[in-house]
């Protein structure tokens, strides 16, 4: 267990504990996606009909927000590897903004659904749509909280070029949240 300590660039990057967690999370999402796909296959008309009521433009904007945010996290890690703490802090701040933008846009979408009286029990499509997106939504909130901690730590100068495992681990989690949305978006909003 200690052998790898001496190796400079280790694989996977970040903390193994976090990777176990990420795998478990991806497994949950994978099963959820599979359940969605199977159910959709046997209810295509219903799913297509209600898919049309979703706001694809907003979802596309959300995709861009998350992708940009992920890009800033990568930039933050690159900066820290060059020991530029100030720059890294700024990038992390931007990535948090990206995450918050996602939350705001998603909440507008939810409030629209709520005003129409749509909830988990409305029909099978909305059950899946709300379950999946809300489960992901909560992950975004958790991800932003992690980014906030990373931002504070970077500001305090806790990470250096030699020691930034926490930043890499937290960043990996944020990429996972992003990745899940990249599957979720076409699966729920686009796939016909």
């Amino acid at each position: 267990m200690y052998i790898q300590e001496s190796i400079k660039t280790k694989y996977p990057p970040g903390d193994l504990a976090l990777w176990i967690f990420i795998c478990a999370e991806l497994l949950v999402f994978a099963i959820f996606f599979a359940a969605y796909a199977f159910t959709r296959a046997s209810n295509i008309e219903l799913f297509n009909q209600y898919q049309a009521t979703l706001n694809t433009d907003l979802a596309l904007l959300n995709t861009i927000a998350l992708l940009t945010s992920s890009y800033f996290v990568v930039s933050a890690i690159i900066s820290i590897k060059e020991n530029k703490q100030k720059q890294s802090t700024r990038f992390l701040f931007l990535s948090i903004i990206g995450g918050c933008a996602f939350l705001i846009m998603k909440m507008t979408e939810y409030s629209h659904h709520m005003s129409e009286g749509i909830n988990l029990t409305t029909n099978l499509f909305y059950m899946f749509y709300l379950s999946l997106t809300f489960f992901h939504f909560m992950h975004v909130i958790l991800g932003i909280m992690i980014l906030l901690v990373l931002w504070l730590n970077t500001r305090k100068g806790l990470y250096t070029a030699d020691n930034h495992d926490g930043l890499v681990s937290g960043g990996a989690y944020w990429h996972m949240v992003d990745l899940v949305w990249l599957i979720l978006f076409p699966l729920i909003y686009i796939m016909k």
């Binding site: 504990a17 909830n119 809300f134 992690i146 020691n163 681990s169």
Partner: protein, 144 residues
């Protein structure tokens, strides 16, 4: 130098993950409360049914029977007994009354509880109310 797998990360995942999923459970529970009025047959929850539930409890019926599949598996499921007995509360009452005091030789038998008329009616009405709950089509057939 960093470790591959640190205790502090494991700890953070434990606390973060637990709080996260506990909040999710609360959110889903909240949503469940919203959905209940259409499913839980509360409009038929009369005082008589309430009395029936109390009798169901203080006689520990669930110690032998199952109700909506929960309880003991020694005696028949009662969530749909109202339908199984031809939508008749009288048939349910007659069965409960008919149980021999000393049991049946070599076989399982329900005890004789010596209920009065009013109690019998309450229990039967309780079982009728239960049969009106939306259980996602469970049990699979009338046998329970």
């Amino acid at each position: 130098m960093s470790e591959v797998f640190t205790k502090s990360m494991a700890r953070n995942i434990f606390y973060g993950g637990s709080v996260f999923f506990f909040l999710l459970l609360i959110a889903l529970t909240f949503q469940t409360h919203e959905a209940w009025p259409e499913r839980d047959n509360h409009e038929n929850l009369t005082d008589q049914v309430r009395h029936g539930k109390e009798l169901w409890e203080v006689n520990n019926c669930v110690g032998c029977h199952s109700l909506l599949g929960e309880g003991a598996y020694f005696a028949p499921e009662l969530g749909n007994v109202y339908q199984r007995y031809g939508n008749s509360t009288d048939a349910i009452k007659a069965f409960i009354m008919s149980r021999p005091k000393e049991g049946i030789e070599g076989r399982r038998s329900m005890p004789q509880f010596n209920f009065n008329d009013e109690e019998l009616e309450a229990i039967a009405q309780f079982l009728k109310y239960v049969s009106g709950i939306n259980t996602n089509d469970w049990p699979p057939n009338i046998q329970g």
